[in-house]
């Protein structure tokens, strides 16, 4: 690895960049630069602002404040086209492929007009290009038919086609096996030796320390400093990534409420992006599901809820679980609190009252008509119990804060007496601190009633404080299990960032 001297020109500069999405401040006053020929890693937990920063650099997002310079030229109006013209290439975490077009067509669209070959010579050109980057892919195959690893490598090649001065890689190894990681790093380092500045975003610290010259750490959208990678260890990076002094009062774990009765048993469950998974959750237990984004946690939860279709078996309370549809999962007593609250859990334009009682209307009605007074009483009681803050129960839920929205979706398991398992996906994302603890209390209260709860969260502090046991997923499998005295924020983060490749023998 070539260590660029301080004389190397700076190819990318972000100066005092801030960006908010609605009420959430994603990055705050971050400055960052990348020199020609260096690999500059950007690390941080999920939601620490890494992807936002890349979006700003690439022109896909407009910053609220601050400026971006690429190759010494200051950006005017941010647009991806302009950034590319200035010499910036980016491999997106979620890719920029048009899935229904062929590999050749996707490559063709990714080169600047000036260097595009004639349309008729596209296939030959694409073959030659792939050869140059030592990537073996059928040029006529539609991208949809490629594996995720192939799509990832293609994405990087696309970013390199315009001969960029600076290359941004957003979590480029999530879908890759060890051999492919090698292949990718080889490709990247070769460019680095040719003088390209590389910004490498990843949460996999061993990889980062293996490839980077410098490291910048982000936490909650704020830069924690830039360091020489040679002087850093995984531990020192983890400390910078979490380093939260705050200790909150999480609800007491009530060991009396827990039993050894297995409520949810999963064996050999497989689905899109996860599996096989074997797991048992007991009555009254809160199980945490940790892992870096995109390692199958969401798919696993959704499969249990009947939203996605798995193979393998799962049983609930001794009965085999039918995961054909959300309805059959609900009938079995499994309720999913989706991470996409307004998209999947709630009816944003309907009132708090309507959202609360939508699943139990039959119980509140007589001869097909709703008894409003009874409904109102039910809702009022829950609003008090969960401390939902609003002007009136007739207020549309879309006008509530994120935390109060989440509490509204939490009313449903309280109303259904038959709930056995709650699957909570990011229950406190976008939720302010006060409301967070109300939500933790509510979940713990349900657990104490004998319900089994699985919480998928990208916040290790939350998992450490709330859960009785935490499992860590990587590349679709359970790679670690943490419980008892071991259960701490630091241990979880280490398990996530250290989760080296455990499987693979394809």
């Amino acid at each position: 690895m070539s260590i660029p001297g301080p004389a190397s020109p700076v190819v990318l500069t972000l100066d005092g960049v801030s960006k908010a999405f609605g009420p959430v401040q994603a990055v705050r006053n971050v400055s960052f630069d990348c020199r020609a020929g260096e690999v500059h890693a950007l690390v941080g937990e999920n939601g620490s602002g890494k992807s936002t920063l890349l979006g700003v650099a690439s022109g896909f997002l407009a910053p609220d404040d601050g400026s971006v310079e690429i190759g010494g030229r200051r950006r005017r109006r941010g647009s991806p086209a302009e950034a590319r013209r200035f010499g910036l290439g980016i491999a997106y975490q979620t890719y920029s492929h048009v899935l229904d077009l062929s590999v050749a067509e996707n490559l063709y669209l990714a080169v600047p007009k000036e260097v595009q070959p004639a349309f008729g010579r596209m296939d030959g050109w694409a073959t030659a290009t792939l050869e140059e980057f030592k990537l073996e892919l059928p040029v006529n195959a539609v991208v949809r038919s490629l594996s995720l690893a192939q799509r990832q490598l293609l994405e990087v090649v696309k970013a390199l086609l315009a001969r960029p001065k600076v290359l941004l890689l957003d979590e480029p190894t999530n879908a890759l096996g060890p051999a492919e990681v090698e292949q990718l790093h080889e490709l990247v380092l070769e460019r680095g030796r040719a003088g390209v500045g590389i910004v490498y975003v990843s949460h996999r610290l061993p990889e980062v320390l293996g490839i980077a010259d410098r490291v910048t750490v982000l936490r909650d959208g704020v830069a924690q400093g830039t360091f020489d990678a040679a002087g850093m260890t995984e531990e020192s990076l983890v400390a910078l990534m979490i380093g939260r002094p705050l200790r909150h009062a999480f609800p007491e774990r009530d060991s009396a409420a827990r039993s050894t009765d297995v409520l949810l048993a999963v064996s050999g469950l497989r689905g899109d992006r996860f599996g096989p998974i074997d797991l048992e959750v007991t009555k009254g237990e809160i199980l945490g599901l940790a892992g870096a984004e995109g390692n199958g946690q969401v798919q696993f939860l959704r499969a249990l809820a009947g939203v996605e279709r798995p193979t393998g078996t799962a049983s609930c309370n001794g009965h085999e679980l039918d995961t054909k549809s959300p309805l059959s999962a609900l009938r079995a007593g499994i309720i999913l609190l989706s991470g996409d609250r307004t998209g999947e859990s709630l009816f944003p334009v309907l009132s708090v009252r309507a959202n609360t009682t939508v699943q139990i209307l039959r119980r509140l009605g007589r001869w097909g008509f709703l008894r409003r007074r009874r409904e109102r009483r039910t809702v009022d009681e829950l609003v008090r119990r969960l401390r939902i803050r609003m002007a009136s129960v007739e207020q549309p839920v879309q006008s509530l804060s994120g935390g109060n929205q989440q509490k509204v979706s939490l009313t449903r398991p309280f109303l259904r007496g038959d709930v056995k398992v709650i699957l909570a996906e990011e229950p406190t994302q976008g939720v302010d601190v006060g409301a967070r603890f109300d939500i933790y209390d509510a979940l713990r209260a349900k657990a104490n009633e004998g319900v089994a709860i699985i919480v998928k969260s990208s916040d290790p502090l939350e998992l450490a404080g709330l859960c009785d046991r935490v499992i860590v997923m990587s590349r679709g499998r359970i790679v670690d299990e943490i419980h008892g005295d071991d259960l701490g924020e630091r241990r979880i983060v280490e398990a996530i960032v250290g989760s080296r490749v455990v499987r693979e023998s394809a």
Binding site: F60, I90, L101, Y108, L109, R270, G271, E308, R503
Partner: protein
């Protein structure tokens, strides 16, 4: 175009046109006459042009339901600007006025869709209403004849084939070559298939969608000329071209999800749909059947063309599972 699936609509339409034509020719002598065939091709013109326009809107993942109202507006405009007693220079300006109405409507639609971010179906529904009202304001009942020389010029033909039809065939072929054999054609399809990825790849997706909707309206205005030549009077009521143009585009292979379609396919489908209306009277069948047949055909086309895709998408879940299972070592 690659693969059988993209050729299927063209093959199916051609087969149906020939089959229906052969059946009609065997059973009715009146079908295979120069007069009837010329008439068939001429009456295909409005639908062919507007279907080609509609294909543009569908390619970028939108709909334009204002096309019929725009055609009506063009006919009404023609009854003022293309009147019988006008001289040729005046008529030329009058013709440009029709195209102007098309461009203005297209820019209006495209602005609503791209700048105000309205869903295309809602935006063009609003435009439809405005244009319909304006047409009725200008002509509350059919009046104002259209210049006979203009009509004759539009209808002129070699043997039984109108020049205009030859022109539209050439246009459709060239447009398909553009769509599938050039960079900009590829860009248009890419935007229709995946807007986010296209933007990430540095394409000006806004400009492309804008262009597609303006082109759609201009083609509808061109279709207005041929409607004017058919009705020959400033009538505020023209056929149900909004639905039929979408029907023709979809029968011709356009995907309702965007990114797929064929201009030649749209032309063939327009010819086939017109052929149905042409043949039915020969058998003393009410033309209302044509409308019902068209409705049934749209549904059939959707199932035939997009069915395999839906099934594939449904199956891919299971294939994905199978692939994982094959890769994973025995647990």
């Amino acid at each position: 175009m690659t693969g059988f699936r993209s050729w299927m609509p063209l093959a199916l339409m051609t087969t149906l046109i020939v089959a229906l034509g052969a059946y009609a020719a065997v059973r009715q002598d009146a079908f295979l006459t120069n007069y009837n065939l010329g008439n068939l091709l001429l009456s295909t013109m409005p639908l062919a042009l507007v279907a080609i326009g509609q294909t543009n809107a569908l390619l970028v993942g939108g709909f334009d339901v204002s096309v019929a109202a725009l055609m009506t507006m063009c006919v009404v405009t023609a009854s003022f600007t293309l009147q019988p007693d006008k001289s040729w220079p005046v008529l030329l300006v009058g013709a440009l006025a029709l195209i102007g109405v098309g461009v203005a409507t297209g820019v209006f639609n495209a602005t609503l869709i791209r700048v105000l971010k309205l869903p295309s179906i809602i935006a063009t529904l609003g435009t439809l209403s405005i244009l319909e009202g304006a047409s009725l304001l200008l002509r509350d009942h059919p009046e104002g004849f259209i210049n006979a020389d203009v009509i004759e010029a539009l209808n002129s033909s070699v043997s039984f084939v109108p020049y205009a039809f030859i022109g539209v065939v050439v246009l459709a072929v060239v447009a398909d070559l553009w769509l599938y054999r050039t960079r900009t054609g590829l860009a248009l399809r890419a935007v229709g298939l995946d807007d986010t990825s296209s933007r990430r790849l540095g394409m000006s997706t806004g400009r492309i969608v804008f262009f597609a909707f303006v082109l759609c309206s201009v083609m509808a205005a061109a279709a207005g000329f041929y409607s004017a030549a058919q009705v020959q009077i400033g009538s505020p009521i023209i056929g149900n071209y909004a639905l039929e143009s979408i029907a023709a585009a979809v029968l011709g292979g356009a995907s309702l999800a965007g990114g797929k379609g064929s201009f030649v396919g749209a032309l063939l489908a327009a010819l086939f749909l017109t052929e149905i209306s042409n043949v039915l009277p020969l058998f003393q069948q009410p033309t209302e059947y044509a409308q019902m047949t068209i409705g049934g055909l749209i549904l059939l086309a959707l199932v035939l063309y997009q069915g395999p895709e839906l099934v594939a998408r449904f199956r891919s879940n299971w294939v994905g599972v199978g692939r994982l299972r094959a890769r994973a070592p025995a647990a």
